[in-house]
């Protein structure tokens, strides 16, 4: 299976994502420059973390106009699994591939630490190998991870079970005191209505091996492998 990782100018988790897919999972992985339009035969597309275009104007605002994004959108429209990690999530929001927007963390500070995240639903290509309500310890590193959507959009998200990850405590209890950035409903990640496009602020690729402090992120990428394998059977 092939993971294609998009590289924007300012991406900084592109190599980490590539490494996690290739060296940790043993799958094929390629880096794809944002000015290209060819996803190089991707089975899975990852928009990585970082600061695409310096986060100028708004996070992800310029990146969404990169030539590769038309190909990513077409790939997603055909049902292809797309994962946006951190800045990649912000790009998906700006591109309108996921609903809502990000604003500054409520306490202003850039937050960089390992946090417990509860998996809400396992019927997406990036949670298929998880258990429902499983708690993953994943690193977050962002200044704008404060998820916002209008009350109507938020209730639609909840109604259609599109909230896929929530900030929680190690036991999986979701409460305001376990929210690191002010995100509405403790949202750490969501999916689109078709469930093939997933965005999350935590970095699974930075927690794919025990040496990194947590290997919990591995299951998110392994889910894609499992989901696609079961599709082709």
């Amino acid at each position: 299976m092939k993971f294609s990782v998009v590289v924007f100018p300012g991406s900084n988790s592109d190599y980490d994502a590539c490494y996690a897919a290739s060296s940790v999972l043993g799958e094929d992985a390629a880096l794809v420059w944002h000015k290209d339009t060819d996803l190089q035969g991707a089975d899975v597309v990852i928009l990585p973390g970082g600061f695409a275009h310096g986060d100028y104007l708004r996070t992800g605002a310029i990146a969404r106009f990169s030539p590769i994004m038309a190909s990513v959108k077409a790939f997603a429209d055909r049902g292809g699994p797309v994962l946006g990690i951190c800045n990649g999530f912000q790009v998906l929001l700006e591109a309108g591939m996921l609903p809502g927007a990000m604003v500054r963390n409520d306490r202003i500070k850039f937050v960089s630490r390992l946090v417990p995240v509860r998996v809400e639903h396992t019927d997406t290509p990036f949670t298929a190998a998880c258990e429902s309500q499983q708690v993953l310890h994943l690193p977050i590193a962002h200044g704008e991870g404060n998820y916002y959507a209008s009350p109507e959009v938020l209730s639609e998200l909840e109604h259609h079970r599109q909230v896929i990850f929530r900030y929680a405590d190690p036991l999986g209890v979701v409460a305001p005191e376990h929210n690191p950035n002010g995100s509405l409903n403790n949202i750490a990640g969501i999916c689109n209505r078709q469930r093939n496009v997933v965005g999350l602020m935590p970095h699974p690729e930075r927690a794919a091996e025990a040496q990194l402090g947590s290997a919990d992120g591995r299951v998110i990428l392994a889910s894609a492998v499992q989901a696609l394998a079961s599709l082709s059977r």
Binding site: L57, R58, L93, I108, Y148
Partner: protein, 80 residues
């Protein structure tokens, strides 16, 4: 022609930066400050020669790029 675009967070969106600036002003002794909302300001130079065209073009730009309609609203002003 020159146009100005003022982008602000919608009233329903919490503005953490504005809050910090407000707190700082109060700390400086401006006890009368009740709230601050921070926004963005753009000056766009363009080759259009009439105000109506300029306004239409810049409004389109604001919709597409300068503002994110999910969280922000904007106002366009064309300078005489």
């Amino acid at each position: 022609m020159r146009a100005r675009v003022y982008v602000t967070l919608k009233p329903s969106v919490f503005d953490p930066q504005g809050r910090v600036v407000a707190d700082a002003l109060v700390t400086l002794g401006y006890q009368d400050v009740q709230d601050v909302r921070q926004g963005k300001f753009f000056e766009v130079e363009l080759s259009a020669t009439d105000a109506a065209t300029a306004k239409a073009r810049v409004t389109e730009m604001a919709d597409k790029l300068l503002a994110n309609p999910v969280i922000e609203s904007y106002r366009v002003e064309v300078l005489p």
